[in-house]
Symmetry: C2
Subunit: 236 residues, 2 copies
Amino acid sequence: MIPESSYDPELMAAVTELGSALRELVGVSVATTVGPDELRAAAARAREITAELGAATRERTRLPVLDDPIAFRRVFSPVTGVGSAIAPPLRVRRTEDGGVQAEATLGLQYEGPPGFLHGGMSGLLMDQMLGAAAIAGNRWGMTAHLALDYRGPVPLDTPLVLRARVTEEQGRKTLIGGSIATAAHPDRALVEVSGVFVTPREEKMGDYFGAITDAAGRHAPPGRATDATALHGDGA
Amino acid sequence: MIPESSYDPELMAAVTELGSALRELVGVSVATTVGPDELRAAAARAREITAELGAATRERTRLPVLDDPIAFRRVFSPVTGVGSAIAPPLRVRRTEDGGVQAEATLGLQYEGPPGFLHGGMSGLLMDQMLGAAAIAGNRWGMTAHLALDYRGPVPLDTPLVLRARVTEEQGRKTLIGGSIATAAHPDRALVEVSGVFVTPREEKMGDYFGAITDAAGRHAPPGRATDATALHGDGA
């Protein structure tokens, strides 16, 4: 559960609103059949919005105001970010078996073979699910290995269930398994996934994240989950 | 090489222009520090564009006018689509060794750990690269297995080189290998990838793609590459 006190709710609502609006815009942009003049007019208006939003931007090493790297709250994550037009976004929650689950219905903007989810999108979504499962297990790591077995194509515009769970812990390594299935047949995996996540050694953490700060300028590397993770519905 | 005669160049230019404009908008939306009022105003304007583009949309089983499933031209692909705001987009070209290569510099909207590419984005991009390598080898298939080994984090805002090449053919199966590296050290793989792509049996093709038509309503399943693939720079 996201601690309500730790962010500006008005800013969160506005970031969420813009994320939703842009997500819908991206979705319709791949389905529209309006003509070239209308497309160019839309592009011109989009560039106006870009100019206005670009009037003030953060440094690349400075996390967004709403992010909390300790709570793993990343509002612009390309998978879970409420502010990301790329993300579905997945809303990942803990399950009673100690794993995580998310539901999603994915549209045309994620298409690979006609009518089906791009195979690589399964990789994008499940990498995040496996990482969230590590956090749910009070572990944290970066992806070292990810393997996906595709049992059948994942249909678009169809309610899906994504699951992941830690299967083994080996020192800095966490082994995690997961699956994508339709909500209609949640135990018939269309994609089976396994991964190894590794917590970097201290010296690597310094190499990788030495320059990262929160919005206030304090050093803020990612790290092991605390009680305040960004997972929903865990009763914390 | 895309046959110039096979699409409306004015429509292609307009779709490309809107794709570029929306991609920039998505990029700035994750970096902006303007306040809630400005964010909400931007959302309202984005919804106006959405309404205009939504005035006419295609059926989900009907491919976009600009797509050519035989030439593997997919203008809204989430990886290579010039019209996709999600796609970087990768511009994949053949290499002299019979494989494929693409260059990319990826921004904050694809961030995973602070400063680095989301691990799942490597999966999304490389699934497409491996599929393109199959096509370059005059094969075609859907992903059956994808495995990624992460040797080091992939930096954002840094020129990257993505490569893939068929390593073995086994009937309907195609085995493919690939990598992501920085352009500065193209032979030092940060992510190594292997995959198995399988051409579905005829009866599966009917199950999967029976309803798919081109924009004119003709049945148009994906299939084996012809001379006119969507790969660039192959001299065809």
